[in-house]
Symmetry: C2
């Protein structure tokens, strides 16, 4: 082969490509970022439009970019498949348009399961199929604190059972927020230049969202809230609102652990109408090529969660998870997952919504769980200063988190398709998968026994089950001796062929886990699930 200048050129080009690929590799559901130097004149936040189309030949997405200050523009992309990808930019400015590149996407690393999706109508799973059993918490302003307090929060979360945290993008009024940065250029408390974002604010938030991701925690980003009267971010005009929403989506959508919560207590944001919320949803939907989960949290009034852009109901209700018969009712309305994100909090403050006992907090999780729904925690237990977990993060002082870790263990071992009500008009305290798995929760009753009886759905005569007694507060699992074999009782249910009951320790907060066992060919019996 003759070494021609043309060949040399080609060789050098390929080498450069290979180097670029090495440098710019990311993994499936990781963040790939195109960073471009561009014009800094005028107001880039308003004047410059930038997007990029990413494709691997099979999938193709147009992704909005954003201005990150100092003349830097970025387009962030979350590839949904491993393989070779390429991109090409489009802009209304010559230096930013027509830029192309290629990069390799490797398989996801073991702890990366992708973004969370709705699964089986009422439940969640990661994109790779791994079930996601939501055990949520709320700490509205944990990212608007001193660095030391924020690091403390991350340390607490690393040892806590929560796999989702609800958090505000915009600062709240003090004392909940103690903001070190603000989303807009200008002077606090209210002299903002709404035409200029402050990239430092968002870079900080991104760092925290990335740290949550690395802890395996979903970040339910709350875009608006009614608690920032001091800063005035609830009285921006519609154009500013819309630009803010687009900017947040452009910056954060490539994080696989992001969920969009349009607002906290949306109806208490008195400056916006129902039509505004519809529009924000549509902006989020249009700007997020990955279709992250979208919800909106109510105060006294529900948004119409039947809207197609709502992926799941995010409910505040102080009474609905007091017992499973209430909790399950909203499922049928929207045929979407129901997350009771606010059910009052464990705490000792004077307000009724912040003084559940640890037992009550845990009880609500179990009631919601057997009803086929999901529940959220937070804590209003004050220490030496004014800070509480609900507002500023820091440490957890309550008694519920340890027990919620126990619940999470139980759920890790539950059917992948979720816990469904089994016979909700009769036995609302029983959830599971018919014929396979049952979880019964006795709440504040203190039963001495439970007569073995399963609703007929999925059950035939002669099936064998094993049972365990769960003490949801003491966090113990006690196997019940022997097996139960089913015998038809009536048109609705099956009982044990020997008519056996299960003796229970007559305490509150007991549960039963009943799982089917199958005879193997060897005669040995193993659980089906």
């Amino acid at each position: 082969m003759k070494f021609t200048p043309a060949l040399y050129c080609a060789f050098t080009f390929l080498l450069a490509l290979a180097r670029a690929a090495l440098a710019e590799n990311t993994e499936q559901w990781g963040v790939y970022e195109v960073a471009l130097k561009g014009p800094g004149d005028g107001n880039p936040f308003l004047d410059v439009r930038l997007s990029a189309t990413f494709t691997d030949g099979t999938h193709s997405h147009e992704v909005e970019g954003f201005y990150d200050g100092d003349g830097m523009y970025r387009v962030r992309f979350m590839p949904e498949a491993a393989g070779e990808w390429r991109y090409e930019t489009t802009s209304n400015r010559w230096p930013l348009t027509g830029k192309t590149g290629t990069f390799s996407v490797t398989a996801a690393s073991p702890k990366n399961h992708g973004p969370v999706r709705v699964h089986n109508t009422y439940h969640f799973a990661y994109a790779d199929g791994t079930p996601f059993r939501q055990i949520g918490t709320t700490s509205y302003s944990w990212c608007h604190q001193s660095d030391a307090l924020e690091e403390q929060t991350l340390k607490t979360l690393a040892g806590a059972p929560f796999n989702k945290i609800r958090m505000c993008v915009l600062p709240r009024d003090p004392p909940m927020s103690n903001p070190q940065r603000f989303p807009f250029a200008g002077t606090p408390p209210k002299q903002w230049d709404f035409a200029h974002f402050d990239p430092l604010f968002f870079q900080h938030l991104e760092k925290r969202v990335g740290q949550l991701r690395d802890l395996g925690i979903e970040a339910d980003l709350i875009l608006f809230h009614p608690y920032g009267k001091q800063w005035g971010f609830d009285t921006m005009d519609a154009a500013t609102d819309d630009r803010y929403v687009r900017y947040v989506v452009a910056r954060f959508a490539a994080f696989r652990n992001v969920w969009w919560s349009l607002a906290n207590e949306y109806d208490f944001v008195r400056t916006k109408t129902e039509a505004d919320w519809d529009r924000f949803f549509q902006i989020v939907q249009a700007g997020d090529p990955y279709a992250h989960l979208r919800s909106i949290h109510n105060g006294a009034r529900f948004y119409n969660n039947a809207q197609p852009w709502v992926t799941h109901a995010s409910i505040q209700n102080g009474a609905a998870v007091e017992e499973p018969g209430r909790a399950e009712l909203y499922r049928d309305v929207w045929r979407k997952p129901v997350v009771y994100d606010e059910v009052k909090y464990e705490g000792n403050i004077e307000s009724r919504w912040g003084r559940l006992t640890g037992q009550e907090m845990v009880d609500r999780f179990w009631a919601g769980t057997v009803a086929g729904t999901y529940v959220g925690h937070s804590e209003c237990l004050k220490g030496e200063d004014v800070n509480m977990w609900l507002g500023g993060g820091g440490v957890l002082r309550g008694e519920s988190p340890t027990r919620l870790a126990f619940l999470r263990q139980v759920l890790d071992d539950a059917p992948a398709d979720g816990i469904e009500p089994i016979d909700k008009w009769q036995d609302s305290n029983m959830g599971g998968q018919p014929g396979v798995y049952y979880l019964l929760y006795f709440g504040q009753n203190a039963p001495k026994w439970w007569t073995f009886r399963l609703p007929k759905s999925g059950v035939t005569a002669g099936m064998k089950f094993k049972a365990e007694i769960l003490d949801t507060w003491a966090m113990t699992v006690t196997p019940v001796e022997g097996e139960f074999a089913t015998k038809k009782k009536d048109n609705y249910s099956f009982v044990d062929e020997k008519g056996r009951s299960i003796a229970l320790p007559a305490k509150p907060a007991l549960a039963l886990r009943i799982r089917r066992v199958e005879g193997k060919k060897t005669g040995e019996e193993v659980p089906v699930e």
Copy 2:
């Protein structure tokens, strides 16, 4: 005055007008009918379009007519105001078009309050403002029985507490229906000429609906249902479905006591899609100038009651009214009245949905009532034959109707704006109007006392209240001695200034009625409501 031929003509004309007015008077919200002889050739059901515009100068309505057989066409109109009205017909046939007439509408007679409307978001009132407190029953096929049985049903209803009855237009399969007539020409069970209605069927139904009206009972007409496999009315094609809906609306909309129920267990009608139901709603809405109430009743799956054409939720749920904390939850979802039309029935049949005790049936009404919702009764108690109230009407054998009459008395005396949850996250068993009227229901608890305590909403210190103990089963009202004067207890509630409690007889099914009393100038005290 000279008696000219022209004057004579005018005089004769005025006389004729006066005579016509006398003959054709109707009352406000009565039925005025334009009857016209027209062409009988071809198929009038398909070929002839007829409508009339009615106006009193202020209101104007275009009303669809219908063919009633034997060459007779009719347009029925329900005037919403007293005064002089006139009409003019339009048709695609010369003999029916351009007919005009005038008639007088007198004031409504004392028992005529007009059609029922939604009032105060979650409640109902007649058009004249009289509150309508729904105490419903269901007898699906009472109009598809022998005349003797139907007359028996009317006699029963005359002595029963129900002010609304759910009933099917189309026959069900036997034994529930024992149809003497069918809606279409042809031969039972399935050889129908769907292009020809049988007017006799509808004339019969109209007679019954009119008799219900005269008894003060609303007729919740169920247009479709899944229980007529033998007749095949659930497998008509879309054009026939639509024509049937239009025909029913044209015939019945002028009856002031008509409500439209699009279907019973709509989701069990496997031959129709969600889009079909949307379309039927729109046809009803377009064809009914009086906007009678519109709902659709679910089997296992809810229709989207947020749709603007749904006036109230018609719910089947066997567990939701077991306690008020459940019952109130659906109110917030749709912000419309919630009518639990099917909550299981008083009965003794084997199916679980038909074997509530009388106590359980009554308990569900009270639980729904204090939650700010409405409940429906029916009965599956068999006598000597197969007929039950639920299917064929006849007699009532159960223990609940007498107690529902007691509830109706209590409601007759309740605030006109309805019973609203007062503090639903804390005391879901208390409904009323803050500061004015409270109804507490203790369900299956058997309390020995109740410490006087009112949530703060609408209450200030020093207000005076009187209380009565209601035994909802024994149907007694026992006044509690003395008055209670309010004193602030904490940030959430007021108690009696002397810290008094009310002694209760420790039985199930107790309620308390608490009403504010005001000092009059004379010093005498009278109830506010």
